[in-house]
């Protein structure tokens, strides 16, 4: 327990004090900037947290560089954006029936009728209270669950089991994301395959480069993910708007705001918030299942358990609480598989992992949570697990982001209604220009730009063919880890062809993967 408290203390102080013991405010400042950007971006229709994180990452890396010192400011800003966006998306959903982020769609069901009834302020404050409470709840679960799972995984799972776990995760993700699971799994394998370009494992020179020396260092990661996730999505949206141009109404007036939410009303909401947050956290901890599923499940549950189910859809705060607390709870919980296993479960987590892969020598996974005894050795320094200190530093920044969400989020939400007037026809081209510039700037000129372009085409093709993008991106990011594990397991088994079937846990996981595959096949007919 003492050791745990020591590491927590070191983690907290590492955010506020630099290596020389000097007070540093940059990480906190970047969290603040991230939260503000996230709240603003969340309120702009057509934008979302992961979108903003994708564009911010190359800019942040350009500002702070690739050293270990850059990790806190960059991660702080990205975490701030992720959390801020969960709050901002509700405002246009409530005032104009236009969700700022996709996960705020269900908030329109009751938020908008509340605003129409002259309870706009109450609806917005309900959304803010439920959203931040839900987010806080899932963060607490993350702080407890991530180290616990990591320690258990490190004790129980060896190389074959870890390999089987990644295979199972990918199968699960393909099965639950989208309506074409077989193609989703194929996309995951394709993502893994593409990530091998330019890599090497045995010192025989880079692989699969077509003889191009520019690919010898591998593909630029950020540009590739920017292309496949953001640029392809922007292309799709621009094409849809081109095919069906709509006259954008930018003159919408905000409805009557009405009285504020009282503390007694907040207290009455707590049971509903806790139930919704628990659903959101459980859903968020599973890779591939997004905020919309959490919000839908929570809304249905709240409606079934309500004494007045007929009020749902007509402007009841219970409905706003159910959707907002659940979709915000996903954001903390989706970091559970990231921090404990190194497996990203959604797009926001992809950019957190990408930042860590790009900057410094820290990496997520069960090895982070090894509680190495802290020892002072004279003439040498202190022996400790620096990664664990960083992990607690990341938790600290999440708490700071929550504080800003509580305070500034509440203040800002009242002013966000105007952002709904920004036309999508303008914002999408601006995002495209910023994305292409960011790819050029961060990843070495035209190589970065070309990579982003090629991956944008791949992403566009996958989306048009109804192949889920998430398994492709997760496969792309996890391939180096999986290759290392599989090679290690194979070598350790002495070259046994059945090296993955050496333990009951690995067999169980692979059997579950096969069952998922059988389910996918049955669904696909």
């Amino acid at each position: 327990m003492d050791l745990l408290l020591q590491y927590i203390g070191l983690g907290v102080s590492s955010v506020f004090y630099g290596a020389q013991g000097v007070l540093q405010l940059m990480p906190v400042l970047m969290v603040l900037i991230g939260v503000l950007v996230g709240i603003l971006i969340g309120a702009v229709p057509g934008m979302s947290g992961p979108f903003a994180m994708a564009i911010a990452l190359p800019i942040l890396v350009s500002i702070f560089g690739y050293g270990n010192d850059a990790l806190y400011p960059v991660l702080g800003c990205l975490l701030g954006i992720m959390k801020g966006a969960t709050v901002g998306g509700a405002v246009p959903a409530i005032l104009f029936k236009t969700p700022g982020t996709p996960d705020a769609f269900l908030t329109t069901l009751d938020g908008y009728p509340m605003a129409r009834k002259g309870q706009g302020r109450k609806a917005i404050q309900t959304a803010h209270f439920a959203s931040v409470m839900g987010d806080n709840f899932s963060d607490i679960v993350l702080f407890i669950a991530a180290p616990t799972i990591a320690v258990a995984v490190e004790r129980i799972l060896g190389l074959p089991e870890k390999s089987a776990l990644i295979i199972l995760s990918l199968c699960f993700m393909a099965a639950v994301v989208g309506k074409a699971p077989l193609k989703g799994l194929l996309g995951g394998l394709l993502g893994m395959f593409v990530s091998l370009i330019g890599s090497t494992m045995s010192g025989n020179g880079p692989r699969l480069t077509f003889g191009l020396p520019e690919l010898g260092n591998g593909l630029p990661l950020t540009s590739a993910v920017l292309g496949v996730l953001v640029i392809s999505e922007v292309l799709m949206s621009i094409e849809e708007m081109h095919a069906a141009p709509s006259s954008e109404d930018t003159t919408r007036e905000a409805p009557e705001m009405g009285p504020p939410l009282s503390w007694a009303e907040r207290a009455r909401m707590l049971p509903g918030i806790l139930r919704a947050a628990a659903i959101g956290t459980a859903i968020g901890a599973l890779p591939g299942i997004g905020t919309t599923t959490a919000a839908t499940l929570s809304y249905d549950t709240a409606k079934r358990r309500s004494a007045t189910p007929e009020a749902f859809g007509r402007g009841t705060p219970e409905g706003v609480v159910a959707t907002e607390a659940a979709n915000s709870a996903v954001s903390g919980a989706n970091l559970i598989p990231v921090m404990s296993l190194g497996i990203p479960g959604n797009f926001a987590a992809v950019f957190i992992i990408l930042a860590v892969e790009t900057i410094g020598d820290f990496s997520f996974g069960p090895q982070v949570f090894q509680f190495t005894p802290i020892k002072e050795i004279e003439g040498f320094g202190t022996i400790l697990n620096a990664n664990l200190v960083l992990a607690f530093g990341i938790f600290t920044m999440m708490v700071v982001a929550n504080f800003f969400n509580w305070t500034l989020g509440g203040l800002l939400m009242g002013f966000l209604g105007h952002l709904v007037r920004i036309p999508k026809a303008v914002i999408l081209p601006v995002i495209m220009t910023v994305s292409l510039t960011a790819a050029y700037v961060q990843d070495g000129g035209y190589l970065g730009l070309l990579t982003a372009g090629v991956f944008a085409m791949i992403g566009y093709g996958l989306r048009r063919l109804e192949i889920s993008i998430l398994p492709f991106v997760i496969g792309f990011l996890l391939a180096p880890t999986l290759e290392g594990l599989v090679r290690g397991a194979f070598t350790a088994s002495g070259g046994d062809a059945f090296f993955l079937l050496k333990s009951p846990i690995a067999i169980a996981m692979l059997l579950m993967s096969l069952l998922l595959l059988a389910r996918m096949f049955r669904q696909s007919r």
């Binding site: 292309l235 621009i238 081109h242 730009l449 566009y460 048009r464």
Partner: protein, 207 residues
């Protein structure tokens, strides 16, 4: 009344072929990888001997495993499409139409034109100022770190890209859109060139 369902059935049946194309395409890709690409572009085989004489996985080990896993999945996809039950949802089918390709072509041309503008405006500006006697620079490379030459190409290219995309989206371009395009480029120049060091905007990193 009777025409519409027939059209939908015919259309979805036709579109259903796209899953077959994805399946057969994957099989062809796997064959190409295993027979042509991997042998020529990977330095070591499926297995190799290390310095101690121990047999360990080579660089081809994992790529071959991945491609080998694609084969049964592609076969399952083809099988599911050939034996699809009528009236069931099944695997969602997408398609890429000629209109989609034309749209992508238009975007590529616009991006290419914007990059061309980024590349030629800077040198053209140097040529113009040299001609008018304002500068005596030997070329763009000599001025690629001096304002405004270093950002002139990016400013016009990025403005063209933003405005071009707004034009595609809206089917028209308003004067305010030109201002938005120029403002976007100016803000990006301010961030990347003004506030940050060692950052080069297009085309300066590739001179």
């Amino acid at each position: 009344m009777s025409d519409a369902p027939e059209e939908i059935t015919s259309s979805s049946h036709q579109n259903g072929r796209w899953n077959l194309w994805v399946g057969f395409g994957t099989l062809a890709f796997a064959a190409l990888c295993l027979l042509v690409w991997f042998p020529r572009d990977i330095g070591s085989g499926f297995m190799q001997q290390n310095l101690t004489g121990r047999t360990v996985p080579g660089d081809s080990f994992f790529p071959i495993l991945l491609v080998a896993l694609m084969v049964p999945l592609a076969a399952l996809l083809i099988l599911s499409q050939l034996r699809a039950k009528r009236g069931t949802g099944g695997e969602l089918v997408g398609h890429i139409s000629l209109e989609n390709l034309a749209f992508l072509g238009r975007c590529l041309i616009l991006t290419g034109a914007s990059l061309l503008v980024m590349n030629i405006v800077g040198p053209s500006l140097i040529w113009l100022t040299n001609m008018t006697g304002l500068t005596t620079l030997s070329g763009y490379r000599a001025a690629s770190a001096s304002f405004p030459f270093d950002v002139s190409g990016y400013f016009f290219g990025a403005t063209l890209l933003t405005c071009g995309l707004i034009r595609i989206t809206r089917h028209r371009l308003r004067p305010s859109d030109l201002l938005i395009g120029a403002a976007t480029a100016a803000v990006l120049i301010l961030i990347f060139d003004g506030l940050l060091n060692n950052i080069q905007l297009p085309p300066n990193a590739d001179l």
